[in-house]
């Protein structure tokens, strides 16, 4: 992600970096019942937390991550060696202020950063699941997170926040567990995957499956990995995270380390070199099968599906307070999708704030430092904690 290049500026005077990262095993007695009808259990859930839990556990903020994200929101990510992906949003003095809130980030089901996914060992065979891992949904991810909260003894969340697929989980949380969610902040997201969203994901999946090294998902038994396919999938997806104007202003038609066109198929243009770099660096940190499973979960996402196709019904009677944020240049989950969420919430009388933030960096804007986004999140959370009597923590 682009933001990683900017992270160096962040002050390193952090002392809470090494707060514990935990993995707990859940579903031993009562397995997780999946939307597919299958059952999963036991499974591991990896999570990390920051800040202090207050005496009545009323200051918990759950952070939901995006497709290729993880629970390393802050501090050094041990997998990549890079800094966490949302340090500008979460931390001491940041909009989600860890001096006030107890922030919890959980790796999603199907991922490859600690929570059980297709690269984990299947206890029945002693080998990696591969394609024997059941197909999961965003609803399954959220139910798995709820099981972890049960385990931790956390009944209610002060807030759930996330962008992109994280935003989908936020909405799913609010729809499935309305009594457990006081406020919900869904950023740069949608209420269902559109044909175009599915189409881009299908290109990525086909690139992985067309790689001979993919070997029907059984590549972990062999020396080679489907890195070429996964890199292409990442390159195609990465284009959807940026805007045309952002690409033009950053790369234009600039040439890469050369004065003139080479009349070949090397990376003549900077944008080619940039995308290749994005693809190559991605394969070191992400599992190809996880990419298949999680993109599938996103494609299956349609919050209105269980409500006769009427999104408003998913939020009927909700007491949760919502903050919906979109970005003007996001064409992956454009403003119109957020507006539909907002109108549906208004239709059921829910309390909702909605900002369409003027930004030219496309979908990735949600990860980048920005005063408008900061002010909106800070103001929204601050007013709610004030409404609780300002007693946080």
């Amino acid at each position: 992600m682009i933001m990683l290049f900017f992270m160096d500026q962040e002050k390193s005077a952090e002392t809470e970096e090494d707060s514990f990262a935990e993995v707990v095993t859940l579903g031993q007695d009562n397995p997780l019942r999946l939307d597919s009808g299958e059952e999963l259990g036991p499974f591991d859930a990896a999570y990390k937390c920051w800040g202090k839990l207050n005496y009545d556990k009323s200051n918990v903020v759950l952070v939901c991550h995006a497709l290729t994200g993880d629970h390393y929101v802050r501090g050094i990510n041990p997998i990549t060696g890079k800094r966490g992906w949302w340090e500008n949003m979460i931390g001491p003095g940041r909009p989600v202020d860890t001096d006030h809130y107890y922030v919890l980030a959980i790796n999603v089901l199907g991922s490859c950063a600690g929570t059980t996914g297709p690269s984990s060992i299947n206890p029945e065979t002693g080998k990696p699941y591969g394609l024997d891992f059941p197909v999961i949904t965003v609803g399954d991810m959220v139910r798995a997170q709820a099981m972890l909260l049960d385990y931790l003894g956390i009944e209610r969340l002060f807030s759930v926040i996330g962008g992109s697929m994280g935003g989908m989980q936020v909405l799913q949380w609010a729809a499935d567990f309305p009594d457990r969610v006081r406020t919900a902040i869904a950023i740069a997201t949608t209420w269902r995957h559109s044909a175009q969203n599915i189409a881009f994901h299908e290109v990525g999946r086909q690139a992985i499956m067309a790689d001979a090294n993919w070997n029907h998902g059984r590549y972990l038994d062999q020396e080679t990995r489907p890195h070429a396919g996964l890199a292409v999938a990442r390159m195609a997806a990465h284009i959807t995270y940026m805007s045309e104007s952002g690409l033009t202003s950053r790369f234009g038609r600039n040439l890469q380390d050369r004065e003139k066109l080479a009349f070949g198929f090397d990376a003549d243009f900077q944008i080619e070199s940039y995308l290749r770099h994005q693809g190559i660096s991605f394969v070191d940190r992400f599992d190809a099968n996880s990419y298949l499973y999680i993109t599938r979960a996103m494609d299956y996402y349609d919050l209105s599906a269980d409500h006769d196709g009427v999104l408003a019904k998913a939020f009927q009677g909700t007491k949760t307070r919502f903050c919906i944020v979109s970005f003007t240049s996001d064409w992956l989950y454009p403003t119109v999708e957020s507006r539909h969420i907002v109108r549906s919430l208004n239709a059921v009388g829910a309390r909702v704030s909605f900002a369409d933030i003027d930004a030219d960096k496309g979908h990735d804007s949600f990860l980048l430092e920005g005063d408008d986004l900061n002010d909106v999140v800070r103001g929204f959370l601050g007013s709610e904690s004030e409404a609780m009597g300002g007693a946080l923590p």
Partner: protein, 209 residues
């Protein structure tokens, strides 16, 4: 209501006049809520359950930063998505003249709210008449502070025009108020006089039974 209850320094005085109308503890939708000043005041001082719609991103960001439930949107489109009679009051302050269809907007206000509070610049004010009548130019002053070519205000009306529209549209006028150039309420002696002397008209309207 005494002066201590409503501190004039907090918000613009004409907004204060609107605030005086709103019953404490009611549900309020402020259409075109700008930076949320009025809504914030109502939430804090009158404990209303307040919501807002605002077109400008700056206004929306400022409103949300105040902790208000305000959505970015075009009021004329977004009002359609609120359920019938879901608010005690719907406020449309200084915005009617910027609507594409002010008549339809009034209808929607009274569909969504049990009462609507509507204020608008009075194009019948004597200075406006003087401007147009003697100088022959479009008026530009504190309540009409845009030149004609860049004004968002596309449907000006006089107080008399507004009353006429209400009569035609089966809208009951519960309260008529005249606001002077400094934003204060002035006596509404007669329609003819108000239409000449008031810089703003302010109305509480309901649907005719």
């Amino acid at each position: 209501m005494n002066a201590q209850e409503l501190r004039a320094s907090d918000i613009r005085v004409d907004l204060l006049e609107i605030a005086r109308i709103i019953e404490p503890g009611s549900t309020v939708l402020d259409v075109g809520c700008s930076d949320g000043s009025l809504l914030d005041y109502l939430v804090r001082e009158k404990q209303v359950d307040g919501r807002g719609i605002e077109l400008s991103p700056e206004g929306v960001n400022q409103s949300i930063a105040k902790g208000l439930s305000v959505i970015q949107g075009n009021a004329e489109e977004d009002i359609d998505f609120y359920p019938d009679q879901s608010f005690d009051y719907v406020i449309l302050s200084q915005t009617l003249q910027a609507m594409k269809s002010p008549d339809r907007m009034l209808e929607q206000l009274l569909r969504v709210g049990r009462k609507a509070v509507v204020s608008f610049p009075n194009f019948g004010h004597w200075k406006v008449r003087l401007n147009l009548g003697l100088l022959g130019t479009m008026p530009v002053n504190s309540t009409l502070d845009y030149p004609w070519y860049s004004t968002p205000n596309i449907h000006f009306c006089t107080i008399r025009d507004f009353v006429k529209l209400c009569q035609q549209s089966d809208i009951h006028i519960e309260q008529s108020m005249a606001i002077n150039a400094r934003g204060y309420r002035m006596p509404f002696l007669a329609l003819r006089l108000a239409n000449l002397l008031a810089t703003q008209g302010m109305y509480v309207i309901t649907k005719k039974e």
